[in-house]
Amino acid sequence: MNTITITLAKQAQLYLEADLITPDQFAGKSTAEIGAIEISEGKIRYPLASFAKIEGAAGPTPEETRIVLNGDWSRVKRIGQQMSAGEIIINSNVDMYTGGWMKGGKITVNGNADSFTGIAMAGGELTIKGNCQNHVGSAYRGDWRGMTGGVLRVMGNVGNDIGTFMRGGTIIVEGDAFIHVHTHGEGGTIIVKGNVEGRVGGQSVKGDVFVNGKIDYMMPGFKYVDDVTKEVDGVSAVYAHYIGDLGERHPDVKGQKIFTNLYLKK
């Protein structure tokens, strides 16, 4: 695997949008060609080289390309958007939409990420070492097709609207979440190791949600069924098992009614 290192040297007046910083875009290009890839400030496009220093070499394919971002990227959006393979390591905080619509490969943020991190993610691994804001792994505004695959891990806390309209994949929050977890869910798994204030699984029809801490305010549409032992992120424990959201449609699949399962650690 080849590594290309980009050091952000200059801050833009507005926020930058860097949806073209992906192994897919960089693969097979020289440092000069990568420097010419465009980054947007508002409606104006600039060559990446006008903001950043570019060193190293990209691999011949996305799979063989690792991108390391140094400097302060906290005002840069959309890094790794729609990437399909390879790796991005961000040694900084980042702004919104990091890893949005990613299909494969790996992104690690050694810092905090803002909102819309990993939205509509379809595959790959996205890890945030710090905290995230809102709409982590959720659907794009208005869309009913949310995250469908991949593993999105936030090692700190997250805000609200986590995994909205989720259909597949896994979101792991090692800290706390605020409100609206797995709203309108139609599949997938969300694990919150800390506490959630409330509104877990509202209008959700399918999928699994695990909460290891406590939920301050349970949704009235969830009903206790039984206690079960589950292995969650490598650790076995006993959980109280609820099903819901009982206010929603629940189609029969092969004679069995499908519900969202909410597991609360005992």
Partner: protein
């Protein structure tokens, strides 16, 4: 003194019986003329097709419902809104494009006039504001009337002169063009939790049937001598087995004659008829079937009718209609988001996203039925191509529909390769029986130009290349003497007009929009009727008692109407 000469193109103009003849079209000061001076700019159209600008009879492009569709579907713009090109305004949206994209895309297809298909009278100002902001194309709008409390009461008492006085007042107050009828009685009935499925179901409280409403509207329309006929979206849209309702509705024209000075012959235009040609009693392939032949057999022999197709384009789109109960029904079928707006006393509208997925049987069957309608039509001057934009698909897909009609190969390839249940579609529709049928470019010009303009009563303004006409002219990369062997070329050519003149201004040159600043027109009908004290009193009364707005604030102000083009129809003379 701008002059142009479009040289050596193959001209197709059904209004003059010209079918592919090599000739020059001259343009001077916005009009088509017999000759121009040597100073005229030359457009080389050798090996290309030249037609009048296209005319769209039914498209939802402006107003509160369309705008609600834009607000309601941010995801319709996601990754589908390219950065602004240097000489154009920003373009957004796939199924519900922004106003700028709407104007540009119609120009890219070579269209010069578009009829907004549903204007809620109370919201007319919004419709006109969006028309103003839509570049290039001339537009008009039809106020929605078939669930209107005034008319329901007049029709119940069979007071056609009063209905006429009210309809005339509405046309003037909204700067509207024609009388639109959506799910007659059904939308009102829905306010009571009911619907009208046949034309004999009574509307609660008003105690009147859809048949009486449609007949009342036909009589009112002909009493007012309007340019267009009543424009009908019948009851029971989209439901299996609805073709009997459709035939019953179409037969209501029997005994009526067109009464106007605009060359219009029909007394009813039935819109998006694809949605109204269904047999069977469910959407399953074991029951559902096409009844397009049964419906078109009647249309073909009934000169009092024109229709448009409402072709399904197999896209993800946004349905929006004043047929409120239908949208409610739809959201329970596809479980996607739904919004509804009630417009007090007048109408309502619902919106639901919809995916016509070629992997489902039903989308394939609907696709087939829309094409069957066009292929079965004997008189192409009476059958027009639409998608009921955006209901069956976005309007900018018209070139794809042309391709499916011009090329049997394109159609048969799609059945074989893209429809998952192609065999079942063939078994349950007539598309297999039509497997070698194709329309000609002349047919296409009738279905998108001359016939449409005539049905709208606008043949003096659009759809023709006769000397003296406004110079709306489209030049396409298609050589009628050497038709493309690859059907894709039809789609490319009709979707990217080579050159397009709007009112004599060169708008598209070499496939690129070069000018969108020409003055576009809002066409409306100024209907004048004898003084009618009773209707004036009824209007004042209803506004005092029931409307939330004051009568003085209801009518569209002149400032709302962009570059109005008034067609005066005075029945007192």
């Amino acid at each position: 003194m701008t002059e142009y000469i479009i040289k050596n193109g193959c001209v197709i103009d059904p209004t003059q019986g010209i079918n592919g003849q090599k000739m020059d079209i001259c343009i001077k000061d916005g009009k088509i003329v017999d000759k121009v001076s040597n100073a005229a700019k030359v457009i080389d159209a050798a090996g290309k097709t030249v037609m009048a600008g296209g005319v769209d009879i039914h498209s939802h492009v402006a107003g509160p419902k369309v705008n609600a569709g834009r607000l309601f579907r941010p995801e319709d713009k996601l990754f589908k809104s390219p950065m602004r090109k240097s000489n154009l305004r920003m373009e957004m949206g796939f199924s519900v494009p922004s106003v700028s994209k709407t104007g540009y895309d119609y120009a890219r297809l070579g269209y010069g006039f578009v009829m907004e298909a549903a204007m809620p009278p109370l919201e007319a100002a919004h419709v006109h504001e969006e028309i103003r902001d839509t570049p290039i194309i001339d537009e008009a709008a039809m106020p929605v009337l078939a669930n209107n409390w005034f008319l329901l009461e007049y029709f119940k008492n069979h007071e056609i002169e009063n209905a006429g006085a009210y309809a005339s007042w509405i046309l003037n107050a909204t700067r509207g063009y024609a009388l639109k009828c959506v799910n007659p009685g059904g939308t009102e009935a829905w306010g009571w939790g009911l619907n009208c499925i046949t034309i004999h179901d009574k509307v609660p409280y008003f105690d009147i049937t859809p048949a009486e409403i449609v007949k009342g509207l036909i009589e009112t329309n002909e009493y007012l001598r309007l340019p267009h006929s009543v424009h009908v979206h019948a009851n029971n849209l989209g439901n299996p087995g609805n073709y009997t309702t459709t035939l019953d509705t179409l037969k209501l024209v029997e005994g009526y004659k067109a009464n106007n000075d605009f060359d219009r012959e029909q007394v009813m235009h039935h819109t998006h008829i694809q949605f109204h040609c269904y047999g069977g009693d469910s959407f399953k392939s074991s029951s559902f079937e096409s009844k397009s032949k049964e419906v078109m057999d009647y249309v073909n022999k009934q000169k009092g009718l024109t229709i448009d197709t409402g072709n399904v384009t197999l896209d993800e789109t946004t349905t929006m209609t004043a047929d409120g109960p239908f949208e409610y029904h739809l959201t329970h079928l596809n479980h996607l988001k739904w919004t509804n707006v009630d417009v007090e006393l007048e109408t309502a509208a619902g919106i639901v996203p919809f995916i016509y997925d070629p992997k489902t049987y039903i989308a394939g069957a609907q696709w087939a039925i829309g094409l069957e309608v066009a292929l079965f039509a004997k008189d192409k001057e009476r059958c027009f191509i639409t998608t009921d934009h955006p209901n069956a698909g976005p309007f900018w897909r018209y070139p794809r529909i042309y391709k499916w009609l011009l090329s049997a190969k394109a159609r048969n390839d799609l059945i074989a390769n893209e429809l998952k249940y192609g065999d079942k579609v063939i078994d349950t529709t007539y598309i297999g029986e039509l497997s070698d049928k194709e329309i000609s470019l002349y047919d296409l010009a009738q279905m998108t130009r001359s016939g449409v303009a005539k049905s709208l009563g606008l043949s003096h303004l659009y759809g023709s290349l006769k000397t003296g006409m406004n110079a709306n002219v489209a030049v396409y990369d298609i050589d009628p003497e050497n038709l493309p062997s690859d059907p894709e070329q039809y789609e490319t050519a009709f979707g990217n007009v080579f050159a397009f003149f709007k009112d004599g201004v060169l708008c598209v040159e070499n496939h690129e929009i070069v000018n969108y600043s020409m003055p576009k027109k809002t066409v409306w009908v100024n209907s004048i009727v004898p003084e009618n004290k009773q209707v004036e009193r009824d209007i004042r009364d209803k506004f005092l008692r029931t409307y939330t707005v004051d009568l003085e604030n209801y009518a569209v102000f002149d400032e709302h109407v962009h570059n109005p083009y008034k067609i005066k129809v005075d029945i007192t003379q």
